[in-house]
Amino acid sequence: MKKFILLLLCSIATSLHAQERIILLNEGNWQADNGKISYFEDGEIVSNQWFRDINKRKLGDTPNDIIQINSNLIAITVNWSNIIQFISPDGKRIAETEDVPNNRKLATDGRYVYVTSYGHECGTIHGYEMFTRGYVAKIDVQTFKVVATCEVGYEPEGIAYYNGHLFIANTGGYAFQEDHEYETTVSIIDAETMQLVRNVDTGQINLYGKLSQSGQYLCINSPGDYYDIPAATVIFDCEGALHGDDDCFVVLEYASTYNCTMLDGNFIAIGSRFSYYTNEYTFNYVVIDPHEVMLTDGGGGVDESLPGTMLEDLKALGMPYGVYVNPYTGYMYATDAGSFAAAGALVQWSPEGTFLGRHKVYINPAHFLALPPDGVDFAGIEQVTDKDKPTSTDEVYDLRGVRIAPAEGFYIQDGKKIYKH
């Protein structure tokens, strides 16, 4: 009887649904092979070496981005290990590839994963391909092989998928060491054919770091060169760019070193503008309404106040190293890299900006992924019923980015994944 009660209690405990589930990549130290994953669930760190615990092996050196591709698959770029690691949402390794060296950031349409690379070679199903500049690789998640590539600018960084197209922010980040200048363009690629559609020149150099996407808008950081050219933020309208508009972006005089999309579709950005000449900084913590920014041509849409106590709490961080909003729940997070030799911290706020806690993680915590709460379908997929059925058949794509007529099941519209039933 006792045993039965115990079993019953256990089953109740396990059936309690986890709401907040965050996977956090700790970059570790470069060349120290100590990239680690922290797993956070409902207010507690479950493990700071989640990948090791589950797989009995190390993740590798400097994990750089993480994305969920479908309900069973997550991809992680492990930059200095030249590995793209595929895991299941419960952390088990599924596959890995080293065909895309110096891999950077990820985007997906649910069928393929797209990865940017600073490298000049790529192992594909057609053999090795070489590039003068950087490239984007399209990986089939059924075979984990690169099926197509497209050369873009030097050192391409941030990448977003919108409406059957990929938008790639080029940095030219090796301009300091190599014999080329910083890049200023966003490359647009047709995701199905992997052909370059065109490059949009933003006039801003070094489009470096994670970019955030909110529907048709992107938030792209430009750190400048830290000497003469100050940092800036580019708000980019993918829809406008696809229509060939020249004014498809607006430059804001704020830095968005760390940025994320909030639940209401605005961007939250933390950054600083720094010059080696003066050794002086200007910090900014802003909320950007991209629609308003585009409408007013940058005259409005930037709010320097953050929800609740978030602003004061962020200012108190030793070294902010990442910001994130859980797209399912709206809970907000930031990481603090602290002194870089010590463990960093994960800080959590409620959607209203109430400080909820600070948790010790590992060195250089930087990249987040929220898992869907228990009982909710996978990331980014909105469930709609017949009444939300798209009216225009022009703007609907399947998960491969191929234009289709709306039907039952999964499809993509306005940059969102939709499940219709």
């Binding site: 030249n82 590995i83 900084y281």
Partner: protein, 655 residues
Amino acid sequence: MYKTRQHVIRCAAMLLLAAQVMTASAQLSLDSIQALDEVTITSRQPSLTMATSQTLQGEELQALSNTSVADALKYFAGVQIKDYGGLGGLKTVNVRSLGAQHVGIYVDGIRITNAQNGTVDLGKFSLSTMENVSLYNANKLDHCQSASEYASGATVYLRTRRPTKDSLSVQLRRASFTTYMAKANVQFERKGWSGFIDGEWTDSRGDYPFRYHSEYEDTVGHRANSDIRYGRIEGALFKGGFASHIYYYDSERGCPGGIVRRLSDKYVNVGREWDRDFFVQASYQAQFMHHHHVKVNAKYTNEYLRYCTDYPENHNTARVDNHYYQQDGYGALCYAYTPWSWLSLSASYDVRYSKLAADLKKFDDVFRLDQKQVVAAQANWQGLQVAASLLHQHYRDKTFAHVGAADPLDRWTPAISGAYTLGGLTFRTWYKKIFRAPTLNDLYYTQVGNRNLKPEYTKQFNLGLEYHLDTPHWNVSAQADAYQNKIENRIVCLPLKGTYTWTMMNYGYTFCRGLNATAQGRYHTDDWQFSLLTSLTWQRDVNRTDPDDEDTYDKPICYSPTLSSGVTAIVGWHNLQLSTAYLYVGERMWSYADPEDILKPYHNIDMKLTYSHLMGKTHWSLCLEVCDLLDEQYEHIPRYPMPGRNYKLTLSFGL
């Protein structure tokens, strides 16, 4: 200095018997022949016991398994070596946790400088031309020292051997990991002039095996891109108070990088580095009218470094090809006045002019004028010794780089020492405050430099005692020093808040307490000679930077072991000599983030067996060395494995 030499001669006389006894066996060993003259300086002058110092010389220096100066220094108490592994890996020393840039390395009293980053790669200096290697915590305390000898937290002196007869020797070596070495040395002595020419050529593939074995991995492999090829040629010329030295080193090496998770061996580090170092130096010292002593030093240094990853096969990392050029002119004038035999007063002026050029973007030539003056006094009266010095340093930079030059730096720093000797026992205490100026890299390096940096200060306090006992057969010495160091305004590279950039900053405060102890014993009979050298370091140095940060405050400094020790035993019998060196280095943490982030303790046993033979006027010897006898896998820097067990076979001829 005159007095010093007299004293040495007296010591030599005392030890003559012992030396003669040794001659029979020693003459048969090539190493010992070269070292014979130095055996005399086994007992130290009273005035030198005031300084905390350790010396390796003569046979003992040769008996250790060592190829570079770094290998010899690791046997000293209080020394931590940073070594990226292999023959080509950067080797620097850190003394009592002060940091490598606080350790001055001096060849015959003139500092080896690196205006660019302030650290000296000890792998570039050979022991074969050295008479002894000494480590002085704080100051050496000679009667007549240049100001720059007072300007570092700890000083390592490499003293070049002065030949006393004509000789020629050749060494050939074959060692593990496809390593070949050839060395030749010619010495001469004519009418008071003496000198040598020493040349070495080494080529090593350096592809040593390594293994990482833990719960989470079992990585085995061979170090890739770890080869090195270098040539070194140097010469020296001496006469009386005149000493000169010319040195040239040329190398090409691979830069292997950390061992990280990879799926295959497809991607390896391709970076390569070339170094060309040249210096010529001369010094002259003279005594006149019995009370006056003058020394003049001059040196010119020219260094070139190239780092390149711009190869067609490099498809995945930045393609870099940078060249750095450094030039350095140095002069010093020292004057000492000894009004009475117990008192010495001295003053010195040093000037150094450095130029750094590099083909980096947003960088332009940087010039630095560095001037130092010191006034010092030493008294030695009936066993009571006192020394005090006051150093003034002035740095002024000029640059065409757009960021502009740093403000001039002007500082005074003192040092004071006291000791009392009774019989063979000396009690001593000293205090020294000194700083290291930000290097040209710290200040101006593109995308890192910060020209607003303040100097990094160290304050050292030491209490110690030392004991000597010399008998015809026995020679015993022991010393123990307790110390306390504080380091303020550490110069470190940190990322800037809210940007992706890193920059040099003054950040950090270290508090260190420790104990260094060494004991040495030597015993000779007709057939046998025994030496036992031991050292022990216990140290607790903690981070006192941020009292609010409980993860780091009062926690040990990374890479610093609490306990380390060394034991070296040398046994000689007729033509044979066997030396065994044991080194233990305790656990070191390398980050505060995880208790797992530690470097495991390691035990290193090196053995060296030498057989020497005399045929007419020709000496020859054969030497077999085994390093890391237990084949322990260890590392100084995480993921930079050190070579495991390896062998060296050396054949030497001498005339």
